[in-house]
């Protein structure tokens, strides 16, 4: 069925080990959890969480994201190319800065839930691109994707901080030379709407 050489002993042993290990794993049922996280995601009204505060209005991407959330549409991927949040709007070296909290709504200087620190907007970097930033999101999840135009060329997720503790996140991505937009975002676990995002337009040399 394929051209892999299976007469190789190491290969055969590997196959046996992989298959027996794989089959020994007994996955538990997560359908309920997946349903809870996805049901109504496309039709749910906009979430008006406390952290939809001042940060959403901070930059071009933020304005776009805010209008999208208001419209109650799940925005994924395309259409955000090159909309980096201006670095000037961002407090620097502020890892220890106070986090958004339910009791301190609309406080100026509050950090958005997800920030990409490196690479910076407009940077030219070698591949693999090492992306790092800080976040404070639900269950620490940071979803990322790399766009070329409207096309998602790489994606994945990683973890940062959660529950008011801002923590660093990182991921590496192999990219051919060209222009890309790196996007890190969080979708609401409740209704799938866009909760937070940061984007960086970069050039891979």
């Amino acid at each position: 069925m394929n051209t892999h050489d299976t007469d190789d002993r190491a290969d055969r042993e590997l196959r046996e080990a992989v298959r027996s290990y794989g089959e020994s794993v007994q996955p538990s049922d997560r359908l309920g959890a997946i349903r809870a996280l996805t049901r109504g995601a496309t039709a749910a009204p906009a979430r008006t969480g406390w952290w939809h505060g001042p940060w959403l209005l901070a930059g071009g991407a933020g304005v776009l994201a805010a209008s999208v959330i208001t419209a109650g549409v799940v925005l994924i991927g395309p259409g955000l190319g090159g909309n980096g949040t201006p670095a000037a709007d961002r407090p620097t070296g502020a890892q220890t800065q106070a986090e958004p909290s339910p009791t301190t709504d609309a406080r100026p200087g509050v950090q958005p839930p997800i920030l990409i620190d490196s690479p910076t907007d407009g940077a030219t970097v070698p591949s693999p691109v090492q992306v790092s930033g800080t976040s404070d999101t639900f269950e620490a999840t940071v979803v990322w994707e790399v766009l070329q135009g409207d096309q998602v060329v790489e994606d994945g997720h990683t973890m940062g901080g959660t529950l008011g503790k801002r923590r660093p996140f990182t991921f590496d991505v192999q990219l051919a030379p060209g222009d890309y937009t790196i996007r890190a975002y969080e979708l609401s676990a409740k209704d799938g709407s866009l909760v937070a995002e940061d984007t960086k337009a970069i050039t891979v040399e």
Partner: protein
């Protein structure tokens, strides 16, 4: 592989699509993840995330094949991210998964298998991913290339390099 009517799936909503894909592929994807991170719960978390994000972008994927490729890719990438976090902890712990073997399997074979898996775990990320995708999901070179978004040539070289170092490691212990 389980089959279903792609045309029918195409018209189904995101909820239905996720349910169907779950029914068909949940176990195999979690196991794929477990092979990459050596931890069932982490694999479940990563796979669950993959399904949730698939749901969010169903409008763009729409097709069964694309959706499945997306899920595989998400699991592989998610495991990579998760693996980095757990790597340090894992180094100080024995294999967290119980060795489920039937009585008739000799202890020797079991031991050999864990040697092979230990050797696999030491390989660089891509080599490990290529070998696991090939042996666990029986993916062809082209399918592996699509899943990992690398060229077929890279699949070949990762595969042969991975096997080569496995061979060296295993000969030492054989």
């Amino acid at each position: 592989m389980a089959t279903d009517d792609p045309a029918e799936l195409k018209t189904a909503g995101a909820d239905d699509a996720v349910e169907r894909l779950y029914a068909q592929h949940w176990a195999s994807l979690v196991r794929l993840g477990a092979l990459l991170v050596r931890d069932r719960e982490t694999a479940e978390d990563v796979t669950q995330d993959a399904f949730v994000s698939l749901h969010g972008r169903w409008d763009r994927l729409r097709e069964h094949d694309k959706a499945l490729a997306y899920l595989r890719r998400s699991v592989v990438n998610g495991c990579h991210s998760a693996g980095r976090r757990t790597a340090v902890a894992a180094r100080h712990q024995p294999d967290p998964l119980p060795d489920v073997t039937s009585a008739e399997v000799s202890a020797l074979a079991t031991e050999r298998r864990s040697e092979v898996l230990a050797a696999l775990a030491t390989l660089p990320r891509r080599q490990r991913e290529v070998l696991v995708l090939r042996h666990w999901l029986d993916l062809s070179e082209a399918e592996i290339a699509t899943t990992l978004r690398i060229s077929r040539g890279s699949v070949k070289s990762h595969s042969s390099r991975g096997l080569k170092s496995l061979r060296t490691t295993l000969e030492r212990t054989a």
